[in-house]
Symmetry: C2
Subunit: 327 residues, 2 copies
C-alpha cells in the first residue's frame, strides 16, 4: 500500500489546494496570515496531538492540556504574533472519566490565564481510538510584519532560544531508556517533554529584528532544513555552540550518542531564527527583556543544505533528522 | 466510572474556562464572534468528525472531505457569516493509502472552490485509531450583526430550511435498516447523509431578517431546545407542517415510527430560525433569491420547552431527542 509521509502529503496533496489562497503562505510557514478587512494581521494556525504519539496516556491530564495549548502558542511565537484565542476540538476515548477531564480543564484554564488567551469555542466528540486534541489558535500582529521562514538572508547570524534536546531526552527518560539519572535532572527533562515553554515574549521582542524565524518541533536539523528551503539559503551550525541544559549535558556526557537528540530530537519548541550581524547586540538584549536565553549557533550561507560542524570544523553526521515524536 | 455527556462536559467543564472571553458567547452558539481590531466581525467555529461516528469507513473519501467542510460551513450559515477560510487537522489511520487521500483532497478542493473558501493551514498526524478530521472555519459578517440562538422573540414565526430527516434516514439506509426502497429514493437519502447542504446563501439572506437562528445538527427537537434555552422562550412546532422529501415521506408512510428521525434525527444541517410575523413575506422571498425552500413550522411562545403538536393539536412524544450521530 502506497503511503506518503507527512511532508509529502502536505506538499503534494494539500498545498495545491491552498495555492489559490495567498494567506496560506503555501502551507509552508508556522501559521497563515490574513488581511482581515484591510487590517492585515490575523495570524492563524492549527496543531493536533494524539495520545501515545505526542503525549503519553499516563501523563497528568493537566500537562496534556497545557502541552496541546503550548505547541500552538509556539506557532504564534514563531510568527511574532500575540496570541488572542483558541478553539479546541477534543476526541475523547472511553477510558477518560470525569476526573481526568477536570484535570485537563484545570491545566487548560491555568495556561489560558497565564498566556492571556481566550477559549473561543470548539467541539467534543467520542472516539473508540486514542484521545486526540486539535487546537486552532488566532493571533494578532498588532500592525507589525509577521516573521516567516522565508526571510533568512545570507550573512545573517543563526540563533536559537533556550536549550535543545531536553524534550526528546525527557521522552526517553519516560520510556525507561535513560536510567541512573539524578532525580532533579530526570524531573527537568520529563517536565520539558510534558510542558513546552512557548517563547511568546521572545517572538514579540523579535518583531522587526529577526529575519527568518520558526519554532523547532520536528528537531533542529529537520526544521533548519525547512528554513533553508523556504529562504533558499544554506546554514552552517556550530555543534559545540548548541545550548544544553545541565540535565542534557549530563546525559550526553554519559551517552555521547544521545547528542543526536539535540540535533534531531523533537519537542523542543524553541525559536530558531536569523538576524543581521549588525543586530547582534539587540538580539542578545532580548534576554534581559524576556528572561529567555538566546544563543548564536551558526550563520546563514549561500547554498541549500544544513551543515553541522564539530569543534574541528568537520561535518557531523545527523542520524535522526526528521524525528517523528518518538514513533 | 463517572462520565459526563457532551453537553454537560461543555457546560460544566469548558464553559467556565470561556467565561472570561466575551467573544466565545458562552460556548452556546454555533460560532464565536471576535471584535477583530475594532472591525467586529470575525466569526470562528470548529467541528470534528470521527470515522464510524460521523461518517462511515466505506463512504467515498471525496464525500467524507466534503461532509467535514460542509458541517463547518453550516455553522457559518447559522451565524449569517460569509465563509472565508478553513484550517484542517487530519488524523490518519494506517488503513488510508495515497489513493484514498487523493480522493479526499479532490472532494475538499471541489468544495473549497464551490464555496469560495481558502485552505489556510492545518496539521497532519498519524493515529492508530479511526481517522478523524477537525476543521476550524473563519467567516466574516461584513459589518452585519451576527445571527445567534439567543435572539428569538415571543410571537415570532418559527421557520426551517429544506427538508428534515433525510440524513438520519440515509444513515439507516446505509446500515441496512430500511429495505425495499426505490433506487432513486434510496440514493437521495444516502446522499443527504453523506453530503450536507449548508445553507450559506440563506444565512446571508437572513442577515437583519431572522431573529434567533441556528443549524440543526443534533436533531430538530434537541436543537429547538437549545434555541429555547438560549432565548428563554418556548416553541410550538406543528408536526404536519414539517417539510419532508419525497424519499422521507415514502419511508415514513411505510414505517410511521421513523417519523422520529424527522423530530430527533441528526445530520440535517438545515437552518432553524425565527422571524417577526410582519416579515413573513420577506422570509418567504428568500427562496426565490437563494433557491432554498423555507417552511413555517410553528411559533415562539412564552415558556421554556419545545411542544410538538399533531394535526389535532395534541402533543407528540419525542423519543429520540438528542440523537447522537447513530451511536
Amino acid at each position: 500500500m502506497a503511503r506518503r509521509g507527512e511532508f509529502a502529503l502536505i506538499g503534494e496533496v494539500f498545498a495545491p489546494l491552498a495555492a489559490s489562497c495567498p494567506a496560506a503562505l503555501g502551507l509552508g510557514d508556522d501559521a497563515a496570515v490574513l488581511d482581515w478587512r484591510g487590517r492585515g494581521d490575523l495570524v492563524v494556525s492549527a496543531d493536533a496531538l494524539v495520545c501515545d504519539v505526542h503525549f503519553l496516556a499516563d501523563d497528568p491530564p493537566d500537562t496534556i492540556a497545557r502541552k496541546c495549548l503550548r505547541t500552538n502558542l509556539s506557532d504564534m511565537a514563531a510568527m511574532g504574533a500575540k496570541p488572542v484565542g483558541v478553539l479546541l476540538t477534543a476526541a475523547l476515548s472511553p477510558a477518560l472519566d470525569d476526573a481526568w477531564m477536570e484535570g485537563f480543564a484545570r491545566g487548560l484554564g491555568a495556561d489560558l490565564a497565564d498566556f492571556s488567551v481566550g477559549l473561543l469555542g470548539g467541539d467534543t466528540v467520542s472516539t473508540p481510538g486514542p484521545a486526540q486534541f486539535s487546537i486552532t489558535i488566532l493571533g494578532s500582529m498588532d500592525g507589525h510584519v509577521p516573521l516567516t521562514r522565508s526571510a533568512a538572508q545570507v550573512g545573517d547570524d543563526l540563533w536559537v532560544s533556550g536549550t535543545l534536546g531536553d524534550g526528546a531526552l525527557g521522552l526517553r527518560v519516560r520510556q525507561g531508556q535513560i536510567l541512573g539519572l539524578a532525580e532533579d535532572l530526570r524531573a527537568h527533562l520529563v517536565e520539558r517533554y510534558r510542558l513546552p515553554r512557548p517563547r511568546v515574549g521572545l517572538g514579540l521582542a523579535l518583531r522587526g529584528l529577526a529575519h527568518g524565524c520558526m519554532d523547532i518541533s520536528d528537531g533542529l536539523c529537520a526544521d533548519a532544513g525547512h528554513l533553508c528551503a523556504a529562504s533558499r539559503v544554506g546554514l552552517v551550525i556550530d555543534a559545540p555552540a548548541l545550548p544544553l541544559s545541565e540535565a542534557a549535558a549530563t546525559v550526553i556526557a554519559d551517552h555521547p550518542a544521545l547528542f543526536q537528540a539535540v540535533l534531531g530530537g523533537g519537542d523542543d519548541y524553541e525559536l530558531l531564527f536569523t538576524a543581521a550581524v549588525a543586530d547582534r547586540d539587540a538580539v542578545a538584549a532580548t534576554t534581559a527583556a524576556t528572561g529567555v536565553a538566546v544563543t548564536r549557533i551558526g550563520e546563514v550561507v549561500a547554498g541549500s543544505a544544513v551543515d553541522v560542524r564539530d569543534a574541528d570544523g568537520k561535518s557531523v553526521a545527523v542520524v535522526a533528522a526528521g524525528w517523528s515524536h518518538g514513533e
